[in-house]
């Protein structure tokens, strides 16, 4: 019999470089010790993480090795948007080294600083910019060394691909690799003292002028894709440790019910199967994965007689309207809205409902934990590994410096999905069993038990004066807090396992609304939150889902802008251009309209033929998020007989400031518009009074090929002199309003509830048309 080790772990996990170096007294520069840990010994469990000290040392950000290779320590992660490549481009640019000489080490808490994680699509804007500063700092030190060696002043030195020469002289030359000493990267560097997303480097080292950029702005291909395409990329679920057990969690049939009696004999016949029951946490484990699955199916459990009495998904918007307000905040206000309404000759108002969404990750939560006396290692694709390690330390009650999170590429999480919960499950089970444990959530868990993106009701009012000017505008978005559980998984209370073990829900009442760009004379934009439906281990607990305060609110605000324009009546593009003042705001709208071939006229179309089977229309939506400016035009075909809405064309004008990698940026925008279309047309979590009833891809429908917009055009607006902003989630939030506006344009019927299912659209047509 032949055996093969194909598909075995392709990635080499390095020993913690400090622990390794301290044992050898070697140079503190770019040393790596690959360990075939999958086949042999597992890596040293956890490492000392002297974070406060490390943040002040240059080698916590980057090092140059004697071989000329540059290692960049990126304390966040790449969720599949190409950040690994972007980081390499940005650092290589500032350092003047070849792109291929840069390696990016991501998200391992033993080797990187806590720079937060995937959050607000700020990887390039914050982390990339910060690492460029560190690179500039390193470059200055290296050039000082080189100046001494070459006997030339620093300002006469030029660097190309890491080779340093004196301007205008063919020799002498040197290189970064030649000028470094053991102490080079132990140099001090200042930082702002903030951990997580706000982490930043402070240096007065000179930065390159954008006009001299050679790598930034180039469409360099992604580093991660060949490994994925040739089946060489391992994810956390591929980690196999000696003695590892496979686990399946046992969830209650009714949300909030707890296990009262567990019949261990019911799984006796399954080889190696074993029950783990700690407080309200229940799981089965077995050495073989299929046997763990069989045991999960066979296990007989009596559950407590708890009834959560949820308002169902169909009732939830009524519940939101009625429920007492727990917190309220007006985020943007100018003028006096109430006075403005009094001055208006016409007041219009509308309400818009956005559903609950699951992260519905392609791969349900999966993680491996190895809890030992001397330390804890978790293998996870969480978005925020440093904070996840904090949470595991809290959950297991072990010192933080005994926990190491090894981040690995994994399923696209697109928010705080179920990866963090699976990681916590694995840690609890590994501690209880004294063995490494791999937890794989089922498809049902990945939909029914992940933390959710909240439902919302948007209340919009506007006042129009006698001359047809919009003078007053109010948007209040009401819903569940977007943080029933922390988005950073940094405490036991943030995870399902922690709550099952008794940690009380530590909800934060927060919601937020998109930036209000429109310059109405009287403007009030804010939010209200209501209490969670269940205070512990709830399948409906809320947290960040991709673009957390985008689509639920923008669906309302940007649909309503169209309603106000129609009431005036005015062309929807002209309306926006009239009330937007910032040139980048206006350009995003103007360019989207131009590229789409927008024909100016008020919506809806005149003389709509209600007997026609297909009606066509176009709509626009706009947003500014941080310093990203986006206009999106949607063209739709509405089938008046079936209620089906086909988004035939999406045209996006996108201004992100400085563009690091145009091709990857275009891809990120195109793909999120597909995702955004799914959340607009098909996705909706369903539940009854007791449990979530979206349990598979049939009961939680997502976009399939046949409903993907065939034409998606992305137009990048170039602003090389503007600071880079984020792109990985900003455009998707415009899809619901752009499509709703297009449906209105085509039919004269306004859809005020997402998703735009055929049933809902047909009912709306009948309701208006009779």
């Amino acid at each position: 019999m032949q055996t093969s080790n194909e598909d075995s772990l392709g990635g080499e996990i390095q020993l913690d470089r400090r622990a390794f170096l301290s044992g050898t007294g070697a140079l503190v520069i770019g040393l790596a010790a690959p360990v075939a840990w999958a086949q042999n010994a597992p890596p040293s469990p956890a490492s000392v993480n002297n974070r406060a000290m490390l943040a002040t040392k240059l080698d916590s950000y980057l090092t140059v090795g004697k071989d000329g290779m540059v290692d960049v320590y990126f304390g966040a992660i790449d969720g599949g948007q190409g950040l690994e490549t972007a980081m390499a481009q940005m650092v290589a640019e500032e350092l003047d080294v070849a792109f291929d000489s840069v390696r990016v080490i991501m998200g391992d808490t033993a080797r990187t600083l806590n720079m937060g994680g995937a959050s607000g699509a700020q990887g390039i804007a914050r982390r990339g910019t910060s690492l460029m500063k560190a690179a500039a700092h390193a470059r200055r030190i290296l050039l000082q060394h080189a100046a001494t060696q070459l006997g030339a002043p620093v300002d006469k030195l030029v660097v190309t691909d890491g080779v340093i020469s004196v301007s205008g002289e063919p020799s002498p030359k040197t290189s970064y690799a030649e000028v470094i000493s053991a102490e080079t990267f132990r140099s001090d560097i200042k930082w702002n003292g903030v951990w997580g997303n706000g982490h930043d480097v402070e240096t007065d080292a000179p930065r390159k002028n954008y006009k001299d950029y050679k790598l930034i702005g180039q469409s360099i291909r992604r580093k991660d894709l060949p490994k994925k395409i040739f089946a060489q990329q391992d994810f956390p679920g591929d980690v196999r440790l000696p003695g590892m057990l496979h686990a399946r969690m046992i969830r209650p049939p009714v949300a909030g019910a707890t296990p009262v009696r567990v019949d261990e004999a019911s799984i006796k016949a399954i080889p190696g199967a074993q029950v783990v029951h700690i407080k309200d946490l229940l799981a089965v484990v077995a050495p073989k994965e299929w046997n763990a699955i069989r045991a999960a199916k066979a296990l007989k459990v009596s559950w407590s007689d708890f009834k959560p009495d949820f308002p169902t998904h169909e009732e939830v918007h009524g519940h939101i309207r009625k429920a007492p307000v727990v917190a309220r905040k007006v985020e943007y206000e100018n003028g006096a809205f109430d006075e403005g309404v009094k001055q208006a000759t016409r007041v219009i108002s509308a309400e818009y409902e956005y559903p609950t969404h699951s992260h519905a990750s392609m791969g349900p939560g999966c993680a491996v934990a190895d809890v030992r006396e001397d330390g804890v290692t978790i293998y996870t694709s969480t978005q925020k590994p440093h904070f996840a390690a904090d949470g595991i330390a809290n959950l297991l009650d072990v010192p933080r410096d005994k926990v190491r999170a090894v981040w690995m590429f994994g399923t696209g999480s697109y928010g705080r999905n179920d990866q963090g919960d699976a990681t916590a499950d694995a840690a609890v089970l590994s501690k209880a069993l004294g063995k490494p444990v791999r937890v794989q959530w089922s498809r049902e868990e990945g939909l029914a038990w992940d933390p959710k993106g909240t439902a919302a009701v948007n209340f919009c009012t506007a006042g129009i004066d006698a001359d047809g000017n919009a003078i007053a505008y109010e948007l209040i978005s009401k819903g569940f807090s977007r943080e029933n559980v922390s988005t950073s998984e940094n405490s036991a209370a943030a995870t399902l396992a922690g709550q099952l073990l008794g940690a009380k829900l530590a909800a934060r009442d927060t919601f937020n609304v998109p930036f209000a760009s429109y310059t109405f004379a009287h403007n009030r934009v804010g939010w209200e939150t209501i209490a969670p439906l269940l205070d512990r281990a709830s399948p409906l607990r809320s947290t960040h889902l991709r673009d957390p305060y985008g689509p639920p609110i923008l669906f309302g605000s940007e649909s309503f802008m169209d309603e106000v324009a129609a009431a005036i009546p005015m062309d929807p593009v002209d309306f926006r251009l009239r009330y937007l003042k910032h040139p980048r705001d206006k350009d995003a709208v103007r360019i989207a309209a131009e590229k789409a071939g927008w024909q100016k006229r008020p919506s809806p179309k005149k003389n709509i033929d209600r007997s026609a089977e297909i009606l066509e229309g176009r709509g626009i939506a706009f947003r500014r998020h941080f310093t990203t400016f986006i206009g999106l035009v949607a063209e739709v075909r509405v089938n008046t007989k079936t209620g089906e809405v086909e988004p035939v064309r999406l045209v996006c004008a996108h201004d992100v400031g400085m563009i690091v990698n145009p091709e990857t940026l275009m891809h990120v925008i195109e793909r999120q518009l597909v995702y955004g279309t799914g959340r607009t047309t098909v996705e909706e979590l369903t539940w009854d009074s007791e449990r979530v009833t979206s349990v598979d891809w049939a009961t939680y429908p997502v976009l399939h090929m046949e409903h993907v917009p065939k034409k998606i055009e992305v137009h990048l607006i170039e602003r090389p002199d503007a600071a880079p902003s984020g792109a990985a989630e900003m455009a998707l939030g415009l899809v619901p309003a752009a499509m709703a506006n297009a449906i209105f344009d085509a039919t004269g019927v306004r859809i005020r509830k997402v998703p735009f299912t055929p049933t809902r659209v047909l009912a709306a047509l009948k309701n208006t048309w009779g």
Partner: protein, 155 residues
Amino acid sequence: MAQSVTLIVNGFTHKLSVDDPEMPLLYALRDDIGLNNPRFGCGLGQCGACTVIINGEAVRSCSLAVTAAEGKAITTLHGVGSPENPHPLQTAWIEEQVNQCGYCINGWILEGVVLLTRNPKPSEEDVRSTFSSLICRCGTHNAALRAVMRVSKQA
């Protein structure tokens, strides 16, 4: 009772002892043989993350009993090509920079490989139809379509 099963995967023969003849092939590939793809996505045959090719057909390995695959030629993504000797569709996949996270990749590439084997010049509609049952949460659908069309145009 444990049962002996012989699988032929990417040209290699593996003799396994399985506790349950109904165990899906996916767990034999991952757990017994130690392959890291295919992947678990739903266990219901609804998404494609676990896809393998068996006797020229794209099959959801999460929904096929291991005993039903006995003795048949099983090919995983790893078996269709390598960086040194890539399948044309893998090359096109890189040209088009298709994936984001890549979790769904087995279904898309392997369904595409099977289609191209049967029909080297598929139309856009052929490809849409082939990909109709697959899920990708990153929204790479159109990029995957472009990759297959790139190969189709070269045929």
